[in-house]
Symmetry: C2
DNA sequence: GAACGCTAGTGCGCAAGTTCACAAGCGCAC
DNA sequence: GTGCGCTTGTGAACTTGCGCACTAGCGTTC
């Protein structure tokens, strides 16, 4: 791996968090080193893929031995930007937005919910899990002030694009969209989606075809 | 497209539900035909990809005109197996499991929650959104009786593999896993995951590197 | 009925991702 | 210090996916 030629493939980036979780388990179990084969088993992938993926981070393994678990965990955390917190703003303080704010798993993993936003004046001023609900008009100033880099959209589908636009205007560089609709963001802004209905429909396809063809 | 050579690529299958949603919008707006270009714009993809994807379903377009919205919607629904309901079983009746059971969006899209399962005897017998909570020991007989084809795992990570095993033993062919852990299923069983922490970590990576490199 | 405009369907080259297989190299045993 | 077993790192073949650019063909106009 040459010095600054560190363009990590998207597919690899998507797997790093899986390895990270496996490494965290190994640390808990006080296991000092791990082979690519063992890590592959834990992450549910091919061992060659693990080695190639890890090689993008640098040459952190030792031939004949494996990878030092703590060292690799640290390097990977650094690469993923997990050595510091990422305050998150949630737009849409309904069922889902509230559930996410209440879910401790986020803060625990370094993604504290810094603010909730809603367009419903009746919700503004309420507090959910210690986080105040603000009006969507205040996204830009507040998000900037709180250092929010990641926005979560939990509004109805019809309001999702508007929410995205407001987040982008506030300087948010990454968006996680839960609304079941396609939204567009300017180049340079990362966008990922979580779409349950879509996942179920994909499963439905394979289920249907297994039943019919298999 | 030859007669029975209908192996639809995975990447295409994953996009079909997106097209489906766009088509549903068009039907609502009473728009009778749509071009691949318009559909591409709605689905946020390239027009050539739309045409290639749709060609796997059959030759349903008309050159010079476009696709008949209702006809394409029907054919796609049929292909995805959405012409009938898919009863779903949820394992883990905690915060997430309850939220999913309460969320109307599932039933509405043809995935009624047929049963909830939990290992906690205190929860067994309760009713959530009209669905009774059963003990995990009863997954096999009940899932079979209710015709459950799709299982949803909403247990803590430590119990996820056990839940998956029980679902597979009950004849469930597709699993959607919300627990933040890798689980394995026998070949022939479809597995998809929804993992919020993982999504946030991926966003964190790009956010970190934009800030540092850009 | 001929010509034209428009859009589906697709062949093909390119890019990304995956996997195999092997050489490089570390550490331990003796 | 030499040799051996083990595991990494990676070149290269292969697979999958993408998108351009072209052809086929429908419908409409004159
Ligand atoms: N609840 C679930 O389990 C679940 C599951 C999957 C997907 N979803 C999706 O998540 C989204 C939210 O679901 P929900 O159940 O929380 O809905 P909800 O109706 O409970 O909440 C939506 C919230 O968004 C607010 N809102 C509306 N327009 C807004 C705007 N322009 N700007 C800011 N806020 C606005 C509303 O005031 C409301 O508080 C929906 O798109 C839904 O399809 C929800
Ligand atoms: N709540 C959220 O917003 C959220 C968000 C992302 C991910 N998750 C994940 O979803 C899962 C569930 O989260 P939650 O908040 O509902 O947790 P929870 O503790 O509220 O619920 C878990 C439920 O699973 C049951 N359970 C435990 N072991 C079981 C077993 N062996 N078989 C069947 N049931 C068993 C428990 O009795 C409990 O009812 C967790 O893995 C969590 O990480 C939750």
């Amino acid at each position: 791996m040459s010095d600054r030629a560190r363009h990590i493939p998207e597919a690899t980036v998507a797997r790093l968090p899986v390895y990270l979780r496996s490494l965290a388990e190994l640390v808990d179990d006080k296991i000092p080193t791990v082979s690519s084969e063992r890590l592959a088993e834990m992450a549910g992938v091919n061992a060659a893929k693990v080695r190639k993926d890890l090689s993008y981070l640098g040459s952190y393994g030792t031939r004949g031995v494996g990878y030092d678990v703590e060292y690799l965990l640290f390097q990977m955390s650094r690469e993923l930007g997990l050595t510091h917190d990422w305050p998150v703003a949630i737009v849409g303080a309904g069922n889902l937005g509230s559930a996410l704010a209440n879910y401790g798993g986020f803060t625990q993993r370094g993604f504290p919910v810094a603010a909730l936003f809603d367009s419903d004046r009746a919700k503004v001023g309420q507090e959910i899990h210690g986080v105040e609900v603000h009006h969507t008009d205040d996204i830009a100033p507040l998000a900037k002030k709180l250092g929010v880099g990641i926005g979560v959209i939990a509004t109805p589908a019809s309001a999702a694009q508007d929410a995205a636009d407001k987040l982008v205007a506030a300087g948010v560089g990454s968006i996680l969209n839960f609304a079941p609709t396609v939204i567009s963001v300017p180049e340079g802004v990362s966008l990922r989606k979580v779409d349950l209905a879509l996942e179920l429909q994909i499963l439905s396809f394979y289920q249907e075809h297994r039943d019919a063809d298999g």
